[in-house]
Amino acid sequence: MVQYNFKKITVVPPGKDFIDIILSRTQRQTPTVVHKGYAISRLRQFYMRKVKYTQQNFHEKLSTIIEEFPRLDDIHPFYGDLLHVLYNKDHYKLALGQVNTARNLISKIAKDYVKLLKYGDSLYRCKSLKVAALGRMCTVIKRIGPSLAYLEQIRQHMARLPSIDPNTRTVLICGYPNVGKSSFINKITRADVDVQPYAFTTKSLFVGHTDYKYLRYQVIDTPGILDRPFEDRNIIEMCSITALAHLRAAVLFFLDVSGSCGYSIAQQAALFHSIKSLFMNKPLIIVCNKTDLQPLEGISEEDMKLVMEMKAEAMKTVLGQGGEPTNDEGVLLTMSTLTEDGVIAVKNAACERLLNQRVEIKMKSKKINDCLNRFHVALPKPRDQKERPPCIPQAVMEARAKEAAEKEKRKTEKDIENENGGAGVYSASLKKHYILSNEEWKEDIMPEILDGHNVADFIDPDILLRLEELEREEGLRQAVEEDDDFEMDGKELTSEEQEALAEIRKKKSLLIQQHRIKKSTAESRPIVPRKFDKNKEFTTKRMGRQLSVLGLDPSLAINRARSRSLSRKGRKRERSPAYDGGDAMDVDVDTPKKKLRARSRSLSLSRSRSRPPSEVTPGEGFKDSAQKVKAIKLGKKSVKMRNKDARNGRGSNNDVLQSSRQLPKFARSYGGSSSIRFFIRRFMVAASKEAGNAFWSDKFTFTSFSLPGYMLFWQF
């Protein structure tokens, strides 16, 4: 039995992709390098190879398409007709024909161009010949593009066709739309066909499989058929007609006796009579569905007559098969797919009749004779007339009876669920079968967590006893505790003392803070001795304040400090001209107080003014003002050039200017364009440009190159 499987057809690429695939393959799989200096035969061979290779690939791919698509005449007429119904036979053949012609055309093109290439005399000529050949082949494919697209669509649809074996045991279901065919197939097989209230829910054939007497049967669900003349039928109906026509199957004609499909029994009977020609030689069973809505006995007289007519027709088929003429049980059956009443009976009847028919046919055919002599049913000959029924022990019989009775009586949880509203509505009580000492406790909810503890950790049968013990212990301990409760307070501090203590602590923390600051800055700042305090931190005022805070009288100390101060004693003699000329000091203790005071005052006054920059204050570290002036000069000189160039410094991103003309005039510190400095500068610019490029391309570090350049530069 050939299993018709259309899933194995290779994908048909669309025209453009086809071309791309082949051309890229040619480019990859053939040598690509060619020079015009090669020998002419080599050049010709190179291009001929490409042309032939492309042609071969096209040929291969097109041949696979042609071979893999089924030829409608060669396959089973059922599939042939089905494919014709679904996709027009002519169209299909045309498309395949086009592919075939394309293949031949390409072969011809390749042959011609290879012949021409044999006489190509230059690289350019051979190349253009090859280009022309490939171009023509691609045009051919482009022209059959629509056919390829059509074939691809067909392939996709064919892959999804149900795999129906036309030769095996098949049961076919037909009838008007909405009569219950799909529900029936859902019930007896594992197929999951859409069941909906609108007509033509099923739009194509569906296959399910079911078992009967250890044999597998195909059950085919068809779309509904309307009563129309043959020519007016649409594709969907034609599918079912095709199936009816070609498959040797048992036919179940479905009848909706309740009329809820929207068609009356008369209409359905009319349909029956119009397609009864298709039921030739097929075991036919008329199935009356939806008997839960309308039992068969309850229909009207005319309808009953029609049904009987149909039954008569069906009987004819029975007769025709040589079955018992009087057996009309298997011809007209009632069922309801909703209540599942009679569904199995219908299936069994259909399968039985089909089986019988097939066996009959096999028996009649020649093939059976070959195997018939291999079959032999052995029946033992009865020895005497004694009856020997099968022997079943009494206990087993009783148990069986009891089981049967129990099965009837016991109510399962599922039954209870169904009673109370079904799965979504009723939730079974899991606590029903708990075994507890007291039945009332079954529905109790026990807390699991209390006050940050797990209650389950505390559960203990003798928890009460232990709790009592604990409480007793606690009571004892409390009694003991009360005796030695208070402590000796000792001496408390008075408020005055507390204040003083707070002050002490504040002062201490201040001292510690200051010390910490001093410690952290000690390394970075030089310690200036007290006699050179520039910021005037150590004054007598301050000393006076500090001493009076402690409660001492500072006046004596202040006077003493003042008498020993430098201003009174006078500073060391200086030979610097930058100083106030007339005030060259000559220390003389005996000068009158007035003059001293005046001088001291003018000096002290002058001290409070801002000093000239060259004047050296004692704490600065210069020997004299000349040294200081020189130091300042040196410092300025070192930043002069950089400031002129308005740059940030040596280490920054020095993108050297392209030419000195880009600099503003004042920043140019070197001579005219003919000067040697300018020449060197140009060289530097060029070199650093290169360095700039090299920076990114090599492991050339910018600084390592430019540094010597700059060093050179600075020399000028």
């Binding site: 708990y434 075994i435 507890l436 000492s437 007291n438 406790w441 109790d444 026990m446 699991e448 967590i449 209390l450 006050d451 940050g452 797990n454 209650v455 389950a456 950790d457 505390f458 559960i459 203990d460 049968p461 928890i463 009460l464 232990r466 709790l467 604990l470 409480e471 212990e473 606690e474 505790e481 402590e487 000796m488 307070d489 000792g490 001496k491 408390e492 501090l493 005055e496 003392e497 204040e499 003083a500 203590l501 002050e503 002490i504 602590r505 002062k507 201490k508 007598t540 005022k541 006076g544 304040r545 001493l547 009076s548 805070v549 402690l550 409660g551 001492l552 009288d553 202040i558 005071r597």
Partner: protein, 168 residues
Amino acid sequence: MRLEKCWFCSSTIYPGHGIQFVRNDAKIFRFCRSKCHKNFKMKRNPRKVKWTKAYRRLHGKDMTQDSTFEFERKRNRPERYDRNLAENTLKAIKKIDKVRVDREARHHALRMKGKKAKEQKEAQKELEQHIHLLKAPAVLQEDPSLTLPKIKVKVSQQQSEENQAMEE
């Protein structure tokens, strides 16, 4: 639903909080919050981290051994439900809690027992030793009370300045 203990700080982990880490040897570490989790990832020993219960218990800051801890024990075999037992257990939990809290308070008080006296002694000593920061010893001799001296007005220096101004 079970309340777990954080492996690092030993606080209770309520449902919906924290992270559980399962090691390759199938040991489960539960953490109450990311602080504990991060400390664990840093491989810190909870016995050395001051704010954890493990540290406190180890260093005697919190009560370690007590009969109230015996009541709460993880039992692996469930008991059959008994309403009376459940009721009693719930009441007992509350009482046990109270007792435990009392005992912990007592432990804490015991620990802090001598603190006041010590503090007072220290304060006295400090006052005696460092009073020189506030009041010069000479002044202290004259006036042994602890009244702090106020800052006095500047002495004759200014007066002499004024005199000079007037003079010149």
